[in-house]
């Protein structure tokens, strides 16, 4: 469940990170933390090269088990999100994805 009072306020918080973050690393760190805190799941961001998912940031690894894995592209680079445990209905991926792409794209050179 969202810890904020509404889905809208969660999206606003994610959107606000774009203005508040210093650079790509700062943005991804904070976005991962926000997702983890607000959705109540552990989240890890990776960049995908070939078949390798290279860790970028997040707290999902230690609790690693079956993960919900989603991918998205920003500035021609492929990224992945792993969420543990499977958050089911709580991760509204279709709604989060455009915001993440927007944030990642803005901070990537």
């Amino acid at each position: 469940m969202f810890r904020r009072e509404s889905v809208t306020s969660f999206y606003k918080a994610l959107e606000a990170l774009i203005g508040d973050s210093a650079d790509f690393n700062d943005y991804t760190d904070r976005a991962a933390a926000l997702l983890s805190d607000e959705l109540g799941v552990s989240v890890t961001f990776c960049e995908i090269f070939g078949k390798r998912w290279s860790f970028l940031t997040g707290d999902g690894l230690i609790s690693a088990g079956t993960s919900r894995r989603e991918t998205f592209e920003a500035k021609g680079r492929l990224f992945g999100l792993m969420a543990y445990p499977d958050p089911g209905e709580t991760l509204s991926w279709d709604l989060i994805k455009p915001l993440l792409i927007r944030g990642f794209s803005l901070f990537l050179i």
Binding site: G50, L61, S67
Partner: protein, 499 residues
């Protein structure tokens, strides 16, 4: 390579600034005098001291040079037995009882170097030279997938025709392969690379292509021997090779693999060299040591007389000792024994705590897809000791109570570098290893095994699942339920599910 000649290309490989920046006050990390001193002063240790060192290793702490030198000088057979048993226990703590299976794929044998012990050396006119096209590499990978392989170590000679761009292209070609199997689809899921030292920019090309582990061996850490063995070419630069893992790490490749070719110089010295190398990587890269350590022995090679006449050739007994000490000295690392060794010895050495081995190995160029079944010295770097098929090796491991794992989960979940090091040292990664070993073994049995191997494999899987269910780690852990769900789905034909 533009208009550059091969010689000009070779002359421009080494970039001094990509060595110098890693040095400490102009010195590299192999301190010859210190190694000699450690070896000299630790020639005699009492049993209590040796047993204390064993206990330290069993707590998954890397040993220091004095401790390692003490183990290297043990003479008491009883203590060697204790050390061997401890090595296997260390391995089980970190990796459980799985053995990761891989196959080598040789892409090219043109080389600008002239290593005295190697069949690929440029002055060896007997060697049939070849660089596989990406389409041919793909055919090799297709053959390997049909055998059941999921993980490769891809090998290249050092030459402009097999430069980093070529390597990246071959990695992509291999990842593209998809073959139907009995119950599902087979692919290569992890491409590791064994290649000559590269610059940081070139490593970035491999990184972007999706390399798994970057592996290169120093051959020997003993400078005078190194100089003698590698008279010309980029490989003659000891430090360029010594710091190649640093450059790979700087480029983002955080799984790197080290090794020494035992038989070039004294085995005790090169064990110490490997330890120093592991310590250096830990020190410079926030605790990330080598992902694996390899310890190939010098083998006869075509038209390379030194390969048979070195005065430092390692006997079987010495080989077992060096593997035992390496296992204890760097407890968190993976250890690879290959088909260079004959089946009986390989079996013995696996029981000393090795974590990976190859099978159905062919090291000739095009040998998998062109199906020449005898060893062809003119197309090989050296002569293999074990050419058994994958099914035979899997069956033998199962008879030994060890499960063949085709797992490639870690690097597809961000578990590399410092992430996997932490999980290895606390034993958590081993739990994932066990689950993923069972899942991939299930796949392999259903898709590739012979009836004989299937039979013993089913018994082994039942035992493994029973162990998993009894393991305290999995009690009240959602992982167990997830594993059971995955196992059911894999049994029904779904593929590539991992934890």
């Amino acid at each position: 390579m533009g208009k550059m000649s091969v010689k000009e290309w070779a002359d421009n490989v080494v970039k001094e600034e990509e060595i110098d920046r890693y040095l400490d006050n102009g010195k590299d990390f192999i301190d010859h005098d210190a190694i000699e001193r450690h070896l000299e002063k630790n020639k005699k240790s009492d049993k209590i001291k040796i047993r204390d060192i064993i206990q330290k290793s069993l707590s998954i702490q890397r040993l220091d040079p004095d401790e390692t030198a003490s183990l290297l000088h043990v003479k008491d057979p009883e203590l060697w037995q204790e050390m061997a048993a401890a090595g296997l226990e260390v391995k089980k703590k970190v990796y459980d009882n799985r053995i990761v299976i891989f196959a080598p794929l040789y892409c090219s044998n043109l080389c600008v170097n002239n290593c005295l012990y190697c069949g690929f050396r440029k002055d060896n006119t007997h060697e049939i030279r070849r660089v596989l096209t990406p389409a041919q590499v793909r055919m090799e990978a297709e053959s390997l997938v049909k055998m059941g392989h999921k993980r490769l170590i891809v090998v290249y000679g050092e030459h402009p025709s097999s430069d980093a761009d070529y390597m990246a292209e071959t990695i992509r070609a291999i990842y593209d392969v998809k073959e139907q199997t009995r119950k599902g689809t087979g692919t290569i899921r992890r491409v590791n690379i064994n290649a000559a030292p590269l610059s940081v920019d070139d490593f970035k090309k491999l990184w972007k292509a999706g390399i798994g582990t970057y592996q290169v061996f120093q051959e020997t850490y003993h400078r005078p021997t190194y100089k003698k063995m590698h008279p010309v070419g980029p490989k003659s630069d000891y430090r360029w090779r010594l710091y190649t893992h640093h450059r790979a790490m700087e480029a983002g490749i955080d799984d790197v693999a080290i090794g020494a070719l035992f038989g070039l110089y004294h085995w005790r010295y090169d064990v110490m060299g490997l330890l120093y190398h592991a310590m250096e990587l830990e020190n410079k890269f926030d605790g990330i040591g080598p992902h694996t350590v390899s310890f190939p022995r010098l083998m006869p090679a075509d038209n390379a007389p030194y390969s048979e006449h070195s005065r430092h050739l390692v006997s079987d007994e010495e080989f077992k000792k060096l593997v035992t000490v390496l296992r204890l000295a760097i407890p968190y690392t993976g250890m690879i024994v290959t088909a260079r060794e004959k089946p009986a010895l390989r079996k013995d050495v696996i029981k000393l705590g090795c974590t990976q081995t190859d099978a159905s190995t062919r090291i000739g160029l095009g040998a998998y897809s062109e199906q020449y079944d005898r060893q062809d010295k003119e197309r090989q770097q050296f002569v293999l000791g074990d050419t058994r098929e994958l099914d035979d090796v899997v069956r033998e491991l199962a008879q030994m109570g060890m499960i063949s794992s085709f797992c490639t989960a870690g690097y597809r979940c961000g578990r590399t570098g410092d992430k996997i090091m932490g999980l290895l040292k606390c034993g958590t990664e081993g739990k994932f290893c066990k689950l993923n070993a069972v899942l991939t073994f299930r796949e392999w049995l259903d898709d590739f095994s012979s009836p004989e191997t299937q039979k013993i494999g089913e018994e082994l899987i039942r035992k493994e699942i029973a162990e998993i269910k009894q393991d305290d780690f999995f009690q009240n852990n959602p992982l167990l339920k997830e594993f059971e769900d995955y196992y059911q789905r894999v049994s029904e034909g779904e593929r590539d599910l991992f934890l």
